[in-house]
Symmetry: C2
């Protein structure tokens, strides 16, 4: 039973997916802000959308369309989220879908719409429709890098990962993924969009299961459940265009390789989002172990990840472990015995039994905080569960970007 | 039945309280960092302490002492929180109490210790003990302003409020309050300490009730329950030194006036803390109405108050109501119907029925965001409950202060 996959520096071709890139003038002139993904007939899709009660018009429509038909195309615009736009926003999203559906000769419900950018501004539908012909004319199967760039908003870098894996019969399959999002601490900070596509043939229920499993250890490790933006979406597509039998079982060898590749692609994209955090200068891995449950380990990790005091200390490379302890202490764990708590920064033991480690020196702490990548290892000493979360620091650039964005 | 009280610009004298101020060299040289409050025999006390599991040594000890004896003195140092200091920290707090108890000739348990400042550094007990004689020699009943200054850490302004009220027999009573705390959004950002004292004679159970009622609408409106620092404490003292009968019932006229004065002093001090928020340039009042319960109104208010995206928009005077809607949408309210949601900034209607108000213009929004005090009124349209919370913006100064503090 093999789970092997190979990572590709140059993105491979996912058969059955063609990517068209265009400019609708939503972002500044000369910037790509439109992506159309054309999908081969028979493509299966799984998707997870934001749980925000104020979900954007395209999210409402994409959910409906996905329930009604198998998707034949995705249309994604950046620069405008089409959120908080009421009925006119829903109409605008529908017009985009209808325009693309007419151009491709598919049903309107076979088009899934996505938007990311400023909330509350009317979507410039006419300009999007006007840009469609050129966008479709540009479509090709090797434009993954351009696609990753077209969906960026405050991102400073495109986010793209590519893998290849083989079936037992030697057949080769690809899995590519692109994502956007530069939120500081969790996707609610800025829309997160991710599109993952393979040319293996996977039954929809299995595809859904694979997506949810993978998200739980990747995009949901930089986010709190329910704490999502109005537009977050993650879509996994299986075109089947590489041939081979339809995979329906999780223990199928191809399913296992796909799952492994998917886990890697999702986790790398999720970490790429954190690394590109708005104004981030540090990438922080929070490893919490010794909890009674995974949930309480996550509570501790998120209490730290969401503390502006901790994050500004990381920005300053200040080994302010007192702020870390204070965050652990207010994570809401019942009967937490401080004497069981240990903490290390980049393998330097800082806290032992709930107080400063006897051998700790400030110089050691400062050395541990200096690198751009920092691992915070916390053991709670009361169980066998563990969890890992990724976050970044909070610096002046975050304030600058978010105070200036939109105005 | 009268509830009248008068506010005093110059703090009045609370009989039975003497305030000694000293310098133990914990803060920079020449700064007051020690406060001793001497209390007349028979003083009743009520207190609320942090719920942080990592509560500091003085919190542990103050709780114990309060349960064991009626307090005769408080000792407060600023500059060092004596938190995360383990057994040596507890010993240090005990030595401070013992030293003051010996000097005053009272039981060790009759002294309540408090500390605020840096976490994880050993408390310089010797220097505190050395500073005690001069501190006690300086004690007087008119040093409230000096006391408010001595307990400051990152505060830029002392926080002091003073009131006077009369009993039915014409007897005059005072209530004074001082506080420290410059946390950005909630007391977990920095320790909050508050000391409130009256010279009325109040039975301990009633005193406790009055304190909790008042806190629920003041200090707990800038804080999430359970989200507290390692050292937070709020103490209400009643010396009885003004004479009069012991008040035991909440409907006693003096109790009613005291409650009204207490509500005002507490709310003003709480707002003073927000106004002095680290790097704050805006004071924001969040009024949420039309909720099914007060709890869900608070959930919405805190989702906004804790959103870095919303807070940076306030800093930029940017009427980014999309970020406000996104925060409301992820507050976790079940079955929230967006069409019921309305929002106004400083009385300018921005959002109607979940989308941009038809008459709204960007110019109006910017005008509404310009003042230093901004009221955000949100109606959820699904009930009769309401809640009010105070917060501030997030700007460059917050990052600067918290990145530089301690290092």
């Amino acid at each position: 039973m093999t789970e092997a996959f190979t990572t590709l520096a140059e993105p491979g071709v996912v058969m059955g997916v063609r990517l068209g890139i265009g400019q609708a003038g939503i972002k500044r002139a000369g910037r790509d802000d439109l992506l159309v993904m054309e999908l081969a007939p028979g493509t299966a899709a799984a998707a997870v959308f934001t749980r925000n009660a104020f979900c954007a018009a395209p999210v409402i429509l994409a959910r409906r369309h996905l329930a009604a038909a198998a998707p034949r195309a995705l249309i994604v615009n950046s620069g405008n989220a089409n959120a908080g736009t009421g009925e006119p926003g829903l109409r605008a999203a529908r017009e985009c879908c209808a325009g693309l559906a007419a151009a491709l000769g598919v049903a309107e419900e076979a088009v899934l719409p996505f938007s990311t950018g400023v909330i509350g501004e009317p979507l410039p539908v006419e300009r999007i429709l006007d840009a469609l012909p050129a966008t479709l004319a540009s479509a090709a199967s090797d434009r993954w890098a351009d696609a990753a760039r077209a969906i960026m908003t405050t991102d400073t870098r495109p986010k793209l990962r590519s893998t290849v894996f083989s079936g037992p019969d030697g057949r080769r399959y690809h899995l590519n993924g692109i994502a956007k999002g530069a939120g500081m601490i969790r996707p609610d900070m800025a829309t997160m969009l991710a599109y993952l596509a393979t040319d293996a043939a996977v039954a929809a229920p299995l595809l859904d299961q694979l997506l949810r499993q993978s998200m739980a250890q990747s995009f949901n490790r930089i986010s709190v459940d329910g704490d999502t933006s109005t537009n977050d979406a993650c879509v996994l597509l299986a075109t089947g265009a590489a041939g081979g039998e339809l995979i329906t079982a999780a223990d199928d060898p191809v399913a296992r390789s796909l799952a492994a590749a998917l886990d890697w692609v999702s986790a790398e994209l999720a970490r790429d989002i954190v690394r590109d955090g708005e104004g981030a200068t540090k990438f922080i891995t929070l490893k919490v172990s010794g909890g009674r449950t995974e949930a309480e380990c996550l509570d501790v990790a998120y209490a730290i990840a969401h503390s502006p005091l901790v994050k500004t200390a990381f920005f300053a490379s200040d080994p302010n472990w007192g702020r870390l302890l204070a965050a652990i202490g207010r994570a809401g764990l019942g009967e937490l015995d401080l004497h069981g708590v240990n903490l290390a920064l980049n393998q330097v033991p800082i806290v032992a039994a709930g107080a400063r480690h006897p051998d700790y020196t400030e110089a050691q702490g400062q050395a541990a905080m200096a690198p751009a990548e920092i691992e915070v290892a916390i053991s709670l000493g009361r169980g066998a569960a563990s969890a890992e979360v990724w976050t970044c620091d909070l610096g002046h650039e975050y304030v600058r970007i978010n105070a200036e964005y939109r105005t």
